[in-house]
């Protein structure tokens, strides 16, 4: 009795399957007292649904047959191999895209920025009727040109 309780306690606390299996095989399935604590196959069978309950009643064939007929075209479509032409065209497009990417990233250099001095020419700048110094700024990637002028009493700046 004590031994059975001990085994039952061990079975409850042991989380390891093979140790539980060992207890089942070497005690729980052999000990009459422990065996009596389990439902017998006859008892269980009387409680469960069995094949006999459905033998005449259920005919699943109409549903299954319909589903099979519907699934055949789907199956064929899924198994249809990719045509040779399609495979070649796909590969060609893929290679073309790769080439374009490589050319765009590696080969094509960014357009050179035009310096303000090359694009514009100021013959003279005067402030208060006197020649002044002029500075030209062109921000990168824009067409804008800023002209900065400063008084210069001694020089007159000409740009060619």
């Amino acid at each position: 009795m004590r031994w059975c309780n001990g085994v039952d306690f061990l079975f409850r606390i042991l989380p390891v399957t093979f140790l539980r299996d060992y207890l089942i095989r070497f005690h729980l399935n052999r000990c009459e007292r422990c065996w009596a604590a389990l439902v017998s196959s006859d008892e269980a069978r009387s409680l469960l649904y069995s094949e006999e309950d459905f033998k005449e009643e259920i005919d699943l064939w109409p549903r299954v047959g319909r589903e099979l007929k519907a699934s055949v075209p789907r199956k064929r479509a899924a198994r249809m191999p990719l045509s040779r032409g399609g495979l070649l065209a796909g590969t060609a497009v893929f290679l073309l895209v790769c080439l374009l990417l490589v050319w765009n990233v590696l080969v094509q250099e960014p357009p050179e920025l035009q310096t303000a001095e090359e694009g514009f020419r100021i013959r003279s700048i005067q402030i208060d009727n006197e020649p002044a110094q002029a500075f030209l700024y062109q921000p990168a990637d824009t067409d804008m040109v800023f002209v900065w002028a400063e008084k210069n009493k001694h020089e007159e700046i000409y740009y060619e």
Binding site: L28, S41, L48, D53, L60, E67
Partner: protein
């Protein structure tokens, strides 16, 4: 692959077994029919991959068990969603076990106490007299694990019956 007529005969032979297993696992006749239908369609579509050294019934039960497990998982997800939607009003809902429409044999309260794998082990053992090794084949686990599932199921059902008798 055989003809549809051959398959129909095969299906007719195993429909009862499949339905019994599905209903014992799911507790709902409509779901059991759906799962059986899906199982037979899968069997038909994969007959060419069937290993003829293997027992057909084991193979069918393995597929059926997996389909039932999928459905039970879906039910758990749906019931969680339903509880969330209703603000916890459905807390008493079980994992999808509803009272079977036919004459009730095993009360769903009893079945709820078993995990799906324990239910499968019990059904195979009681209805088909499967050994632990054969149950393991269906459950895709070791024979030791199958034995533990079966032992726990038998003990839980016995406890349920004793509690039920004590109440009566």
């Amino acid at each position: 692959m055989g003809s549809e007529e051959d398959f129909r005969r095969l299906m007719h032979k195993y429909t009862g077994k499949a339905m019994a297993m599905a209903l014992n696992l799911l507790g709902n006749k409509e779901d059991a029919e759906d799962v059986c239908q899906d199982t037979f369609v899968r069997i038909y579509n994969h007959l060419e991959s069937f290993d003829f050294n293997r027992n057909f019934k084991d193979w069918m039960y393995a597929i059926l068990h997996n389909r039932c497990m999928d459905l039970l998982r879906k039910r758990v997800r749906f019931s969680k969603y339903a509880v969330y939607q209703s603000g916890g009003m459905n807390e008493n809902r079980d994992e999808g076990l509803t009272t079977p429409p036919k004459a009730k044999k095993l009360p769903s309260e009893f079945l709820k106490r078993l995990s799906p794998k324990e239910r499968t082990a019990l059904v195979l053992w009681a209805n088909e007299s499967y050994s632990s090794e054969e149950i393991a084949e269906v459950l895709r686990c070791s024979a030791s694990t199958a034995r533990v599932f079966l032992y726990k199921a038998r003990k839980k059902i016995k406890n349920c019956l004793e509690e039920d008798n004590a109440l009566v």
